[in-house]
Amino acid sequence: MRKVPKVRGILRVLAIAAAIVLGLPISSRPGFTRFAEFPRFTRFSRFAEPTTRAVEDRAADPIVVARPSNLVTPPNPGNPVNLENPASPGQSEILANANLENPNLGNRVNPGNPVNPVNPPNPLGGLFAALRNAASTITALFEPRARSSASPQTAGTTVAATSERAIQPWDAAIEQMSNDGDLRLRRTTNDTFIAGRAHERFDQYYKGVPVYGGDISRQTDRGTTVSVFGTIYPNIDLDPKPRLSAEEVRVMVEQAHNVTIGPSRAPELVVLPDAGTYRLVYRVTVFSLDGATEYFIDASSGATVLERDALERQNAAAIARGLGVLGDDKKVSVASQSAGPYITWDLLRPPAIQTFDMNGDPNKTTNALSGVIALTTTDLASNPTTTWSDPVAVDAQAYSGLVYDFYFKRFGRQGLDGNNIRLVNIVHPASRATFNPSTSNLSYYINAFYAGGGVMVYGEGLPTGVLASTGPGGTFQSWNYLAGGLDVLAHELTHGVTDFTSNLIYQDESGALNEAFSDIMGTAVEFYYQPPGTGFLKADYLIGEDVITPGGLRSMSDPLSYGYPDNYSLRKFIGTNTDNGGVHTNSSIANHAYFLAIEGGTNRTSRLTVTGVGQANRAQIENVFYRAFTQMMMPSNATFHTARLMTIQAAVDLYGAGSGPWQAVTQAWTAVGVN
């Protein structure tokens, strides 16, 4: 019974090994490598099959990881048509126009457009009529998605009101919906850039159950609304009482996936927009040796409606260099104990910043992330003297502090949640000594990820001699300890900021924006602390270049050279499960816009030239993006078009219309094809 698959497996390994030796692309399985792209459960076998066994056969040769051909193929710069998603750009454009100022389509979806006789300024009547119309409009505009999984991005009504005419009915609608319990104020934050301004974040509820992806952000200026952005899901009609209890679902998931779900990860009942309709589901995140997966379980049938990779990852990897990581001497804020060694517990900064050492035990890491076990001070990285011997703990502790400092000094932000939530670093989640590409959780080696709640995990990197074909053009790269990359830590911590602000859904365009914002802030942090240049410990526009060598994972200045799209017309994987709909792949579009807005230059695909604000004024662009992505609380379902509008609005807020930053941001988005 088992011999056939075994023989097939051997043949497959031999074939792939031969392909590696001959330099042929391995395209039969589309998953592995760019680590955010490997989709869940099969990714590790993909990683393992063509590599380890082939290498074992080759004795002392370094282990090489083949890069799937579908990922190494760079987009054709000269071909602006995205063959994989030919209709997508137009669709998004229409959607955006429909919900903004387009007088024709907008009449059906804009609740307050006074020229629409069907939707008079009476906000509530207009609102719900608009929402009903919006759903049908959007449904009509979009072709069915190729993937079967549900996506909240398919049915919502996008709100982007910046004019008085558009704002007024939404103000009334927010008030009415709040009174009805359909909107709940999650948080109000004061604007740290502009005195008197505040930002409110409302979550949509349906009969007491949160609507996944439904939220509204409202910017006010001394009580007067300046803008409203968000997504509202209309026409929800379902029984909010689940047939299955959260406990039943927890047991089901545990049994189905052979995991343990701790009390802190209990399933949450939500309304999930699903292809124009709605489902009452439980949302639960599971950590295991395979990684982390977010499941949406039907609250009646127990069926899995949607599952996706839950790790907001940094695509990165590294090779150890021994003590000192990059050889730089740095200070670390730790704590001394009355008895016992020093521990990595930052007591100087407002939040507690702690670095836990899992000592290479992946099971412990998984149990800790799943909430099965609680970490204590004895799990903190420790040292008998103040001269620390573990460079990984040093970098994780020091860099996370520096990132906190950056957000505080640059933006006045107090931690990930704005309220100094504890920052938890987890290092040595697995051991290089026991690395096995067939069985190891690769997320604990060649990745870093934000696990929610202020917890970051930094991968161990790959053992000496193990390379991954993750570089530009499929070149092989070494992966050092990921905690050694300042931009890596800033990237992951920024996922935490996003988590507590815009909460951009980690799928498709909103997921790409989520990733882009992390890259943008990661680079901003580099330039804040390091001198510009090339090489180690220098600020540049490469992502993870200090620990993934040579070259890092992505280039913000020239995405095409790394096989990433530099233009919206080249975006990939939208609507698919690959890379959660291209969250990493398409992040380069926004990344490149950020680069162009600062440095200026010409987009290789559109040939459009941007006049940047220049290095000396880079803080202006950082402020603009930060404001748009966090303070103005970009909606969780935001598209690139929304990001364009909000960053431009942020530039207007901060520097005025017609200002240099406004011009640079506007030109940059246009150059990357986002209009």
Binding site: K330, K331, S333, L348, P350, A398, G401, L402, D405, F408
Partner: protein
């Protein structure tokens, strides 16, 4: 202005010496007139000594780096109390004297430091402040050979020179306290802890003393003396400071001649 302790001592001593002088004068008037081979003199002086400026520089460890601290201390001119006993051989005019002087003064100064940043190397934060109420006491024993340069019925002018032994007790800065808050890019001076250090060393003195004899036994005099010594004070471990003590002294007082 409140009288200093030195001033009170000086006044008290002056009164006592004046009483002794009156008694001696009375005794002298009744004694037979003889030509002495040796004469002795007791002198009590109130003296003003010039001030000095001391520059203290040391460092302490803060946040894994050395924090250099400097203090510029201003020791203003001060009054000191001096009492001396001298003998002179009449024919050769040579003689010797022993005197003790005591000085006590309060002083203060400016303190500056470069406090290392807790998160970064080579990113010091300057703090500046002042310190006051420090105490300096100097007790000096002067031993001198004397020569009577000029002598008349009314005036004696004596030159002298010799070794001096200084015993110095002085407060010095031992550190800096400061306040800083996150993000710790600046720090604010709070205070400068001090400690009292003492040391003894040998120096020298030279000068001249002019006595105007109001009678055979009693006179008044003026003294000009330059004295100098160098002591090393160590208020805290590794915090050593060489202090130049003494200075130009100018004063006057009573003389009793026997």
């Amino acid at each position: 202005m409140r009288p200093t302790f030195n001033f009170l001592i000086l006044t008290f001593t002056f009164v006592v010496v004046l009483a002794f002088a009156a008694a001696a004068e009375a005794q002298a008037r009744t004694a037979a007139r003889q030509a002495p081979t040796w004469s002795s003199t007791i002198g009590v002086n109130a003296v003003v000594q010039t001030g000095r400026t001391e520059s203290q520089s040391f460092s302490i460890e803060k946040n894994l780096e050395q924090a250099p601290i400097t203090a510029t201390l201003s020791l203003e001119r001060a009054a000191l109390f001096d009492i001396s006993v001298g003998v002179t051989h009449a024919r050769s005019r040579l003689g010797g004297s022993v005197s003790v002087s005591s000085l006590s003064r309060n002083f203060g100064g400016a303190v500056g430091a470069q406090i290392p940043h807790p998160f970064f190397f080579n990113t010091p934060r300057p703090v500046n402040g002042s310190v006051s109420g420090l105490l300096d006491t100097e007790l000096v024993l002067h031993v001198a050979a004397t020569y009577q340069v000029w002598r008349s019925d009314r005036f004696d002018l004596v030159g002298f020179a010799g070794p001096s032994m200084f015993t110095v007790r002085q407060d010095l800065v031992t550190g800096v306290t400061y306040t800083d808050t996150y993000p710790y890019d600046t720090a604010t001076f709070a205070s400068a802890p001090t400690a009292r250090a003492s040391a003894t060393s040998l120096g020298f003195n030279l000068g001249t003393d002019l006595t105007w004899k109001l009678s055979r036994r009693v006179g008044v005099g003026a003294i000009v003396r330059y004295t100098h010594g160098s002591v090393t004070l160590s208020p805290s471990a590794g915090n050593n400071m060489s202090v130049e003590v003494g200075g130009l002294q100018l004063g006057g007082g009573l003389r009793l001649v026997y």
